[in-house]
Symmetry: C2
Subunit: 178 residues, 2 copies
């Protein structure tokens, strides 16, 4: 069975990026010399699914740092050609979450990293997320792109474990009951 997995950082007030996509408030924690578990997480992942917002934010950063194939779900981008330097690394698609997961499953993928606020929200609504690791950054931003947005119906989670880091990050893992 194919499963969706979330690994994401959010401000204490629930934003994953500033309105313009900036991650300055988050990226400084990369220098803390702490292992926040990303490598362990990504090693279990076959393919990454994201939306246009995340894709464009990452592109703006310059270097393409993903070590797994990426599927970008975007009606707008699916009408375009993947940039030459990302050929073989990135695909664009306008599929629904369910159809995208079916396609990835048929290709042999089992563990899908679902990244970006809007894509996470749409996958949650389709009950296509199995678990989430959420790292909370000790800052209030007051505005930005939200992790969960609105419109979800009650969705109960099972908290599995929580740890905090000297830098002040707090990381909790949640299972989603299907």
């Amino acid at each position: 069975m194919i499963t969706g997995h979330v690994f994401i950082a959010t401000s204490l007030d629930g934003y994953i990026a500033r309105e313009n996509g900036d991650l300055d408030w988050l990226l400084k924690y990369n220098d803390a010399g702490e292992d926040h578990g990303y490598n362990d997480f990504i090693n279990r992942i076959d393919v990454i699914v994201m939306g246009r917002g995340t894709y464009e934010s990452v592109r703006k950063m310059g270097e393409w740092f993903y070590t797994r194939p990426v599927l970008v779900l975007s009606a707008k981008l699916s009408a375009q050609t993947v940039p030459a330097e990302l050929t073989g690394k990135v695909r664009f698609s306008d599929k629904s979450p369910r159809d995208a997961m079916a396609m990835l499953s048929s290709e042999g993928s089992r563990h899908v990293y679902v990244d970006g606020g809007q894509v996470i929200q749409s996958f949650l609504k389709c009950r296509m997320i199995s678990d989430m690791v959420i790292t909370t950054v000790p800052i209030l931003l007051g505005a930005g792109r939200t992790l969960f947005g609105k419109g979800q119906r009650d969705l109960e989670l099972v908290q599995k474990n929580t740890r905090s880091f000297p830098s002040g990050l707090v990381q909790s893992a949640y299972d989603i009951i299907r």
Copy 2:
């Protein structure tokens, strides 16, 4: 010096109550037999400040369970008389956060419990909160009254400690640098 303190629970997506004020998703955790630290917290508190939303939600629950004097900041309520059964327990005022704190300080209060989303937000903007204990409930509600709202500027916090409970609650304490 008088200081403001927050002790509040929020859903994982940042809501402290449903749109209609309901706390059903939260109150069931009261039965878990866990000590989430409320009594230790309230024992250090001289007076409680809240807004109309919190006041009316608590009134709807029936019993008045606060063991400290309560100041309700509300332009609408300040034109009304406190209900007879709450005389001596509750005051209504239309003061600003700063003026309310000055009044409470002149009365000898030192530690103020600041409760309710909008009041917390306005006190944060005035830098009148010293620390916050935030307990995260493992549920997504999708809609409701937000803890932090919008409009805050970057406010960096210092994470002091974090603990999780068998029920799945995750509680973190943050200091606010003035």
